[in-house]
């Protein structure tokens, strides 16, 4: 394969207009997942749960693979897997900080189970690959409605607990003293996170969920500490990555996940550079009195 044909495989904009109409549903699905990922991601960062997200996604993959094997609904399978994993981690403690070794134990186990189920599965190879790397090109209206409905429910729940969850995440000791149900909120958030992971897996696959749930929020935190700006930027970055990734992926014959992860990564690198320049100049918002 020469360079030209590789490039043609990655970027191909022939018949773009016609394709665009065909994948409308996918683009909407991408936008919804971007919104969800951007919102949930800010709390993943505040609660230091990046590694937990990875662990949850591996078990979600196992659930999806099992569903594929027995002919059940894949989305349902991945939901069961990830919510179970999230609940397990949530019940073990409020913060995942001390739980990293447990997550490290769960993760390969989930991945191993998933590979076992996939090996036993005798259907199309593309179905197997899709679980790991994502497939969003063929979202029909029913699927889109279910996806958007679930995402909306998660967002509504997240908004309802927003302030106390924020309190419990950033300042747990004082939140406890002020009567905030710190532990219960932690479990609620893990369930919401589990659902979000299961939904995101449909776009970017189990291996790359972090690009949707971590990278945009991490990038936003590099350039601002304002709570409102972090949320807005995180959502904008996540939607840009998913929708942009789908648009770029249309013509080529490669799964969309590399486009999404690359866009996400570029955004992060740019934000990190901006953050470093500011830190280098000592700009951190302090008002300096005239000498």
């Amino acid at each position: 394969m020469d360079a030209d044909s590789i490039l043609a495989a990655i970027f191909n904009f022939e018949n773009y207009g016609e394709l665009l109409v065909l994948v409308q549903n996918s683009i909407w699905a991408g936008a919804v997942l971007g919104l969800l990922g951007g919102l949930v991601g800010t709390f993943v960062m505040k609660r230091d749960l990046a590694f937990a997200v990875h662990g949850i996604s591996e078990l979600s993959f196992a659930g999806a693979a099992f569903a594929l094997l027995v002919g059940a609904d894949i989305v349902f399978g991945s939901l069961v897997g990830s919510v179970a994993a999230a609940l397990l981690l949530g019940l073990m403690g409020v913060k995942a900080r001390d739980k990293n070794s447990t997550i490290g134990v769960i993760m390969p186990f989930g991945l191993g189970l998933g590979i076992l189920f996939l090996s036993l599965y005798e259907g199309r190879a593309a179905n197997k690959f899709g679980l790991l790397t994502g497939q969003i090109v063929s979202v029909d209206t029913v699927q889109l409605t279910a996806l958007a409905g679930t995402a909306l429910a998660v967002i509504v729940a997240l908004v309802a607990v927003w302030r106390p969850l924020n309190f419990a995440s950033l300042d747990p000791e004082l939140a406890e003293a002020r009567g905030v149900p710190v532990r219960r909120l932690g479990i609620v958030f893990m369930v919401l996170l589990g659902i979000s992971v299961a939904l995101s897996i449909q776009v970017v696959g189990a291996l790359l969920v972090l690009a949707l749930l971590i990278t945009p929020a991490a990038a936003a935190l590099r350039v601002t500490s304002s709570p409102v700006a972090v949320v807005v930027l995180s959502v904008v970055f996540a939607v840009t990555a998913t929708v942009g990734g789908i648009l770029l992926a249309l013509g080529g014959r490669i799964p969309i996940s590399p486009y999404v992860t690359t866009l996400s990564f570029i955004i992060y690198v740019v934000c990190r550079a901006i953050g470093s320049v500011r830190a280098g100049k000592g700009i951190n918002g302090r008002v300096l009195q005239a000498q």
Binding site: T42, M45, K46, V159, A160, V161, W162, R163, P164, N166, F167, L170, D171, E173, L174, A175, E176, A177, R178, G179, V180, L221, S225, S226, P227, V230, N284, G285, R286, V287, L288, Q289
Partner: protein, 271 residues
């Protein structure tokens, strides 16, 4: 004047070990009340009881005439100073904001009102200049000023302070304790100030609860901080020296650990 904090026959035990037993105590509005004692004597547990986070073994604890409950709006709480990680995604004003409406459900629907209150509190504790700096990039003293502002958000009737001066330099010790004293005198809040070192607040303290060896003594600093009383509490000879308005206690059984924040924190866990 009706007491705002009231303990009746209160006992707290861990296993067989009694931290304190049969404690009767009333704290009045506007009173600056210090809780002193060695590590593991139950100072922090005393605050936890008032916060509703620790059940008494026996007796009753009441706040504003009602049994203590978790999350009481009468209380402002300044926790032991624990620095925030450098990259904590929170600015100074957001930390104060948690005290204003962090416990409420949903989103902040009227940001203008909350922001006005936050600005007032920042002004009050002299933190306006670094309102927008991430908390992880502030010094321990600056963070502790914010903690005071955060605790004052609800204009509490009782201000509970858990070693608020620990690991602060002298300048910030004075600034932070003056802020707490101002709330006490101007707003008539009762202050319960847990500390292992009385000198930074000696000018403000009205009464002292000294906990040691499973026993206690309540009274004015002059009554409690004497060679006789402390020797009796510790069960060994302790010399109390008054010099230049400061109090020096010599010969404490655990004097070696007294000034180590780390060993204190460990003992605090046990307590």
């Amino acid at each position: 004047m009706k007491p705002v904090v009231s303990l009746t026959g209160a006992s707290l035990k861990f296993g067989k070990r009694a931290l304190w037993e049969d404690l009767d105590l009333d704290i009045k509005p506007g009173e600056f009340f210090a809780v002193l004692g060695p590590n593991g004597s139950g100072k922090t547990s005393f605050l936890k009881v008032l916060l509703g986070l620790q059940d008494l073994h026996q007796g009753r604890a009441a706040l504003g005439g009602r049994p203590v409950e978790r999350g009481s709006r009468l209380i402002g709480y300044i926790p032991q100073q624990k620095s925030f990680a450098q990259d904590t995604p929170m600015r100074a004003r957001d930390l104060v904001g948690l005290g204003v409406d962090g416990h409420r459900w949903g989103l902040r629907l009227s940001p203008a009102k909350a922001n006005r209150r936050i600005d007032e509190l920042l002004e009050l504790v002299g933190a306006s200049d670094y309102a927008k700096v991430p908390v992880g990039q502030l010094s321990g003293g600056e963070q502790q000023r914010l903690r005071v502002g955060q605790a004052l958000a609800t204009d509490p009737k009782v201000l509970l302070c858990d070693e608020p001066l620990l690991s602060l330099d002298l300048h910030h010790q004075q600034a932070v304790s003056a802020l707490i004293n101002r709330q006490c005198r101007e707003r008539n809040s009762a202050v319960v100030f847990v500390t292992h070192e009385i000198n930074p607040i000696i000018d403000y303290v009205d009464r002292v609860l000294y906990l040691a060896g499973g026993r206690f003594k309540v009274g004015t600093p002059e009554e409690v901080m004497t060679t006789e009383v402390l020797s009796d509490l510790y069960g060994s000879h302790v010399e109390v020296i008054h010099a230049n308005g400061r109090i020096v206690v010599v010969g404490l059984p655990d004097a070696t650990t007294h000034h180590h924040a780390e060993s204190h924190a460990l003992a605090g866990e046990a307590a």
